[in-house]
């Protein structure tokens, strides 16, 4: 068979000399080459099949939070990101298979009831004894001896505000700042039941915000309605409020520790309050999914141990300002940079900080709360 040179092919094509058979042969050769090509480099993709898939929040997927795993296995596990747990739940119910997820405590009972969780074998975790004891016994996260939740992260939901723009609140910190008509159009709150509606419930003084009476529900609704015209928007991403607080578009908002840490680093005069009504404490951690790949169990537990290691904890505390499940991480931060813990809003005795807040719990009658929140947001 005659060998075709590139120049010849182009010339023949241009002058219309190439026969159909020749052209088809070239195409066939090209097609066959394309089919063969990935075979050579397939080994490059082999690694990802061996690692578990972790479904988590953005920011908690970074390699700095699982260095020991990286050191042992050379690669990070497969990471998938969700915006919130409801999105994650919807995706998994639609058939997305993952090995580990990282929800917060208030979602564990409903996930367990949906049959997608499997108990974690804590005897396979070398870090289990380093975890802050009060985090292991949060109602709904275990059942008898079955532990469905490995607590690794915690933090606060509280008011973050610009002290230079609202100086009168410096010695009078309260959730009421988010209801102050003086700052109309420059306030914000999380677009969520747990970080939004529950704030209103705490503000009106509900006895148990997570299981409200009808009377308290009505009061919460009234408080949210009162607040609506004051809102710039309900935020869905911490980046929104960080930019808005930095520019002065917002004066105060509900926020997580990470926003405070980020803005403090920028040198802004922001304060993260301890409201007199009490801040909220949230706890997140890992759940083992019931359709995990059993062949990857060793690596799954390696990942959990890596995430709960002291070095991960130091990173979470110093970079994000979030609390960590490993109690030794706090001592390490205090030892390496004295005073930093206090600046981030933590007591040196971790339990003191934990006990000061109101632990987030599963919400009773969630559908009714959601319907109520939607109606309030629609101006009703």
């Amino acid at each position: 068979m005659k060998e075709l040179k590139k120049e010849d092919v182009v010339e023949q094509l241009a002058t219309g000399q190439m026969s159909r058979r020749q052209f088809n042969q070239s195409l066939m050769a090209l097609g066959a080459t394309m089919v063969m090509m990935p075979m050579g480099s397939r080994s490059a993709f082999a690694g990802s099949d061996d690692h578990p898939t972790v479904f988590t929040w953005e920011g908690w997927d970074v390699p700095e939070l699982h260095q020991p795993y990286l050191a042992k296995h050379g690669e990070s596990p497969n990471m998938a990101i969700f915006g919130d747990e409801e999105e994650a739940f919807a995706k998994m119910r639609a058939g997305f298979k993952v090995d580990l997820t990282q929800p917060c405590t208030y979602k564990v009972p409903i996930w367990k009831d949906a049959g997608i969780l499997e108990p974690i074998d804590t005897s396979r975790l070398s870090t289990w004894d380093d975890i802050i004891p009060s985090l292991k016994t949060i109602p709904g996260t275990y059942e008898g001896n079955n532990q469905y939740f490995f607590p690794t992260d915690w933090g606060l939901t509280s008011v973050l505000y610009r002290a230079d723009l609202a100086p009168e609140y410096v010695d009078n910190e309260s959730w009421g700042l988010l209801w102050d008509p003086k700052y109309k159009g420059r306030l914000s709150m999380a677009d969520s039941l747990i970080d939004g509606v529950m704030v209103a419930a705490i503000y009106i003084g509900a006895k148990d915000p997570f299981n409200m009476t009808d009377d308290e529900m009505a009061k919460t609704r009234a408080a949210l309605k009162e607040q609506l015209p004051l809102m710039r928007y309900y935020w869905t991403s911490p980046a929104d409020i960080e930019q808005a607080l930095a520019s002065g578009e917002l004066v105060a908002t509900s926020a997580w520790n990470s926003s405070y840490a980020a803005l403090k680093k920028e040198g802004l005069d922001v304060r993260y309050t301890s409201p007199k009504e009490g801040a909220m404490t949230w706890v997140c951690g890992f759940c083992l999914m019931s359709d995990h790949d059993p062949a990857k169990l060793d690596r799954i537990y390696d990942y959990l141990d890596a995430y709960a290691s002291v070095e991960s904890g130091v990173f979470a505390l110093t970079e994000y300002g979030y609390g960590h499940g490993n109690i030794h991480a706090f001592a390490k931060v205090e030892q390496d940079s004295p005073g930093l813990l206090k600046e981030l809003g933590y007591s040196v005795d971790v339990n003191e900080t934990l006990n000061a807040g109101i632990f987030q719990a599963p919400m009773g009658n969630e559908p009714a709360l959601q319907a109520m929140f939607e109606e309030v947001k629609a101006g009703m």
């Binding site: 068979m1 042969q25 066959a32 409801e86 999105e87 559908p367 947001k377 629609a378």
Partner: protein
């Protein structure tokens, strides 16, 4: 053969295959002709039948698209429709027939109200888009003589970026420290940034009108381009002025494009939820946000399905009314 061992090997293989294929085909033909002389085989009868029926050939030509439509559109719709008659019970569905979701839709004023608001916003968007797109399409169709393609491509240039990016661009324009506010501030018209620019229904309308502009310009352009120029000359010769020529000749003849543009913009924007959630604020939410919340946060898929079905019915009814209205208009004017 220097340096070309493997491609030529493949080509040789291909050549061999071709020979085998030819031999087989020859055999087939001989088989067929033999059987045709006695009684026609089943395969042959099928083939004759197929070639004789135009409808069958038409359907087979359509079949890839048809299959895609059935699996991609009709089946999900059927699932949605079925789902809307079920009920959500915590994490499970109650799979018995019930009208409750539809009753909820009519009982609770929130859904109707937000649907009405969405239609209002989309109506404004459609109006703004078509009014802005028409002159642009008119300009290209009638005033540009050479390189029309370049102009059309130029119009689509802003749409080479992602939809999200364009929404964020408007956030930058209208934002607290955005282009509009800092511009007004620097020329001394305002001292404090205007807060009413962003996070309200107007911001949603502006953003959507910009994001969907290309979908309006192109159909209008095509219908304007198709107009027979001699008709316009005739109208002028018969004594109509330029404005009346436009109203009585150009506009009615370009109506198909206007209708297509209006539908292309109106239908998708009613259900949009990305734009309102980014620039809408609490007062700018639309029905798409409610449906999204039903399938996400509120976790009530059947109610979400029922709302979706109701939105579809409403839009269908509105589109029918719109088509009827334009039909009447055309009859009266032309």
């Amino acid at each position: 053969m220097p340096g070309g061992a493997s491609p030529s090997g493949i080509m040789l293989l291909a050549h061999d295959d071709l020979a085998v294929y030819k031999a087989r085909r020859y055999k087939d033909l001989s088989f067929m002709s033999r059987s045709a002389t006695s009684s026609p085989g089943f395969g042959l009868r099928l083939r004759r039948r197929f070639l004789a029926s135009e409808a069958l050939r038409g359907f087979s030509l359509l079949s890839p698209t048809l299959l895609a439509m059935v699996f991609g559109l009709a089946m999900p719709l059927l699932v949605l429709f079925t789902l809307s008659f079920w009920l959500q019970d915590y994490v499970d569905f109650i799979k018995t027939f019930s009208w409750k979701n539809y009753a909820d839709f009519f009982d609770k004023p929130i859904y109707g109200m937000i649907l009405f608001k969405s239609i209002k916003i989309s109506g404004m968007v459609t109006l703004a888009t078509v009014l802005l797109a028409y002159p642009m399409a008119y300009f290209i169709a009638f005033r540009i003589k050479t390189n029309k393609l370049v102009w059309l491509i130029l119009i689509t240039v802003p749409f080479w970026t992602s939809y999200l990016l364009r929404v964020f661009a408007w956030k930058l324009m209208l934002g607290y420290n955005g282009v509009v506010n800092s511009g007004l501030k620097s020329i001394g018209l305002i001292s404090e940034p205007l807060e009413f620019l962003l996070y309200n229904p107007t911001a949603v309308t502006i953003t959507l009108a910009h994001a969907w502009a290309a979908f309006a310009i192109l159909p209008i352009y095509v219908s304007l381009e198709k107009i027979d120029r001699s008709l316009l000359e005739a109208a002028r010769d018969l004594g109509e002025n330029a404005f009346m020529t436009f109203v009585r000749v150009t506009l009615p003849l370009s109506l198909p494009g206007v209708i297509a543009a209006s539908l292309l913009v109106f239908i998708p924007t009613v259900g949009d939820y990305v734009t309102p959630s980014l620039v809408g604020g609490p007062s700018g939410i639309m029905i798409g946000n409610i449906i999204q919340s039903m399938f996400g946060k509120a976790f009530n898929w059947p109610l979400g399905a029922a709302i979706s079905v109701m939105v579809m019915f409403t839009i269908t009814a509105m589109v029918c009314a719109f088509l009827w209205g334009t039909h009447q208009f055309r009859r009266r004017v032309a």
